[in-house]
């Protein structure tokens, strides 16, 4: 139990010592210092690819080698290089091993831990540097990033509150409770220029203020952890890697707006995040950061986790609140705003996970520090989840204003297999596609909106030349139709009709007037849907129609899919000049559509062909052409 700021600082100094080898990259392994920390990413992608078994193997090796005194295994949050997982980092050297299997662990122990020799085959990338730790911060993937929200991820054990405290955790809370009036907190956040990281980018300070000024006995603060945009997983990573940063921020938020109860609404698809949060909340209670008379300053605050149950629309503020109330997560018309009448009709502040993760550092380092990062209208950093056709799939945090090209090519390592970049999709189902001509746009809230997309929660899906933009629009509408709450006709029926039209077009049955209909529907859904999600549902169609209209035209007028994705319009043919009549295609064709033998040319019967593409895949001579 921490009773005041002084005790907190004492604990911090003590806890920091135990973590030094992780924090200080200059510490050399030496005979005097036998301590080794083995960090294993225990979240998201790594956990899905078996990192927890790796951690068990490490633990086993420690036992077997009786190294319990010297070597510690720590399950941390995300390092960012998710496609290379499971990631293991050995400190003090800060050597990062990738794609580690439980079987590799023995070798790491024999060679590295006991023998002092790095296991080169497990290093990140293809290069084999002796001095891996010097290289690490310099590879663009790391050097071009700036970690604020993800600051502690990959360093601390998220289930150990003392490691969070060691890294200045809860100092911001102590500072606020000791030195700030509630309105000072809001002023500081306003000054920092922080905008909501969950979607619209509303200024956070103003949001807090509008609730703070409402005079009402009961108020709430809520953390929106219903990360629903497909392809975005930064909130999951923060919650799983650094849950206390969110908890600390919510307490500060409560203090600033005079609220004493908070809720964290987490989607049920994130069981690990829920578990980590529950552990963290329990610890925060034990240490006295939650409960009554926090740090001896007379402020009370409590926190509860609430689970979603699989509804994208619950990411919308008012829907989220109805869901916390235990009802169908349907949005309601605004006004009244949530700041006045939110959860249980009480004033409520709702912020997203990443927004909260910025708060403690803004308080600790001051608004001016934060303001110094980013662009004119968008301060600080943004976490992006890189996905799709890109080499370094993973989680990156960059200053606002970094260009799309830098993110995709320098940090993301470009497009695999030498393919051509076609577009980047941001903002999830509410966002849009950005074509190659805008690759050099510095990314921030306003530039993305101007391009017809939006920041959203930060999913960034890269598409290459093999992606059909009409099909992609159809995919997003698939999602929207499925996830529409059904309350208002524009979204309930309008998106369905848009989807039907897109299906028609991708099946080669589109008519020119279908494009007009799409536009009319899109315009009206945007204007008249009840909630922000409905209003933004047409964006993927509008932006692809804006930048890739020729592709739509090709589908509608020529009944052709230029990317060769839309099956009904694709034709597979055999290039007789290349074909060696090896008959591999014939053997693999599931429908017997290919005929021919060594004397007769091989041909594909278009009636029988189901366009599965197996022949093309199997042909050793690349003689099968699509859409020729």
């Amino acid at each position: 139990m921490i009773n005041n700021a002084k005790e907190l600082t004492e604990l911090k100094d003590f806890a920091r010592k135990a973590m030094e080898i992780r924090l200080d990259r200059d510490i050399e392994p030496s005979p005097e210092n036998h301590r080794i920390d083995i960090l294993v990413c225990g979240v998201a992608g790594c956990a899905s690819s078996g990192s927890l078994k790796v951690a068990d193997a490490v633990e086993e090796q420690i036992q077997q080698n009786k190294l319990g005194e010297e070597v510690k295994v720590i399950k941390t949050g995300c390092f960012g290089l998710c496609a290379e997982g499971p990631i293991v980092m050995v400190c003090p050297e800060h050597v990062m091993y990738t794609k580690v299997t439980p079987e590799d662990v023995k070798e790491i122990f024999e060679s590295h831990i006991k023998g002092g020799k790095i296991v080169h085959r497990l290093l990140a990338g293809e290069n084999e540097y002796e001095e891996i730790r010097d290289r690490l911060p310099q590879i663009p993937f790391f050097s071009m990033q700036k970690r604020i929200a993800l600051n502690n991820c990959g360093i601390i054990d998220p289930e150990n509150i003392e490691e969070y405290i060691a890294l200045d955790g809860y100092q911001a809370l102590a500072k606020v409770l000791n030195d700030f009036e509630p309105e000072d907190v809001i002023d500081e956040i306003k000054k920092s220029g922080l905008r909501g990281r969950g979607g619209g980018g509303f200024p956070t300070g103003r949001k807090w203020q509008s609730s703070a000024v409402v005079e009402e006995h009961e108020k709430f603060v809520i953390c929106n952890a219903d990360e629903g945009d497909p392809g975005a997983f930064m909130d999951r990573s923060i919650l799983e890697g650094d849950p206390h940063s969110v908890i600390e921020a919510m307490i500060i938020n409560g203090y600033a707006v005079h609220a004493h109860q908070g809720y964290i609404y987490v989607r049920a698809e994130y069981p690990v995040a829920v578990q980590r949060l529950s552990v963290a909340i329990k610890q925060a209670k034990e240490y006295g950061f939650l409960g009554t008379n926090i740090l001896g300053k007379g402020f009370d605050f409590d926190l509860e986790v609430r689970l979603g149950a699989g509804a994208f629309v619950c990411g919308e503020g008012s829907a989220l609140m109805t869901s916390i109330e235990g009802k169908r997560g349907e949005p309601r018309p605004k006004p009244p705003r949530s700041a006045e009448k939110g959860l249980w009709k009480k004033p409520t502040v709702l912020n997203n996970v990443e927004t909260y993760a910025n708060i403690p550092q803004i308080i600790r380092n001051g608004a001016n520090w934060f303001k110094g990062i980013g662009t004119e209208g968008s301060k600080g950093t943004k976490v992006f989840a890189l996905g799709g056709k890109i080499n370094n799939i993973g989680l990156v945090e960059v200053p606002m204003g970094t260009t799309l090209r830098e993110i995709i090519y320098d940090i993301g390592g470009g497009i695999p297999n030498g393919k051509e970049f076609k577009a980047a999709q941001t903002g999830g189902p509410s966002g849009g596609c950005i074509p190659a001509e805008h690759l050099d746009t510095p990314i921030d809230y306003d530039s993305l909106t101007k391009l017809g997309s939006m920041m959203g929660s930060g999913g960034l899906i890269v598409m290459d030349e093999d992606t059909c933009m009409v099909d992609l629009a159809r995919f997003f509408l698939d999602f929207t139709v499925d996830e529409s709450c059904g309350k208002c006709p524009p979204c309930r029926i309008g998106t369905k009709r848009m989807h039907e039209i897109l299906v028609r077009i991708t099946e080669g049955k589109g008519e020119p007037e279908d494009l007009d209909k799409l536009e009319v529907l899109a315009r009206n859904i945007k204007e008249s849907a009840l909630c922000g999600l409905g209003q933004s549902a047409p964006n993927p169609v509008l932006s692809t129609m804006k930048y890739f209209r020729d592709e739509y035209m090709a589908h509608v007028l020529e009944k052709k899919c230029p990317a060769g994705v839309c099956k009904s319009m694709v034709k597979f043919m055999i290039d007789q000049d290349v074909c060696k009549r090896c008959s591999i295609c014939k053997k693999n064709c599931p429908t017997g559509a290919i005929s021919g033998d060594k004397d007769t040319p091989f041909v594909i019967d278009q009636e029988k062909c189901v366009k599965c593409g197996v022949c093309m895949e199997k042909c050793p001579f690349k003689s099968i052409l699509k859409n020729a």
């Binding site: 998201a44 998710c82 496609a83 997983f233 049920a268 509804a311 235990g326 009802k327 999602f479």
Partner: protein, 164 residues
């Protein structure tokens, strides 16, 4: 003939667990969704009797409870298979061919999305992004995750489960 007594004891055991869940949340505001989650964990799905019990005890109309259950995709009123297959249809997985993988599961198991095989062994669902985009395309079967899948992998995985 089914052994009635065992079934009886088992259902009594479950009813007891359900009661404990309801008691835990009775005083909590807006707890319906949490109760439904835990009830589904006990029963595997949310049949009428379970929903009715929850409705009665939390003093919420059954129609509302059913409306809530039907709203959220995580709740089911049908029993699920022993092995629950979830094909992630997030954007990252989709652009990497999740649809073909889903099709493969469909044809191999001869069931559609949301259905369960006749023997009760497998149920198939398409799910929203599970946040493992680095491994796209991803499929989960119960607590197991299969990443970077190809259509060819599907048979092997299912053979393995069928042999269990």
């Amino acid at each position: 003939m089914t052994d009635k007594c065992t079934g009886c004891a088992e259902s009594q055991e479950k009813a007891k667990e359900l009661q404990a869940v309801i008691d835990k949340y009775k005083e909590t505001r807006g707890a319906l969704i949490q109760v439904l989650h835990e009830a589904q964990e006990i029963y595997g799905y949310l049949p009428l009797e379970v929903q009715r019990e929850i409705a009665n005890q939390l003093d919420i109309p059954l129609a509302e409870v059913y409306g809530v259950v039907s709203f959220y995709t995580q709740f089911s009123i049908y029993p699920k298979g022993e092995y629950q297959i979830n094909v992630c249809m997030g954007t990252a997985c989709y652009v990497k061919g999740a649809n073909e993988i889903l099709d493969k599961f469909r044809t191999r198991l001869s069931i559609d999305v949301g259905e369960c095989t006749e023997d009760g062994k497998f149920s198939l669902d398409a799910c929203r992004c599970i946040g493992a985009c680095g491994l796209a395309p991803v499929v989960t079967i119960n607590d197991e995750t299969y990443g970077k899948l190809t259509v060819e992998d599907v048979d092997g995985i299912l053979d393995d489960y069928e042999a269990r």
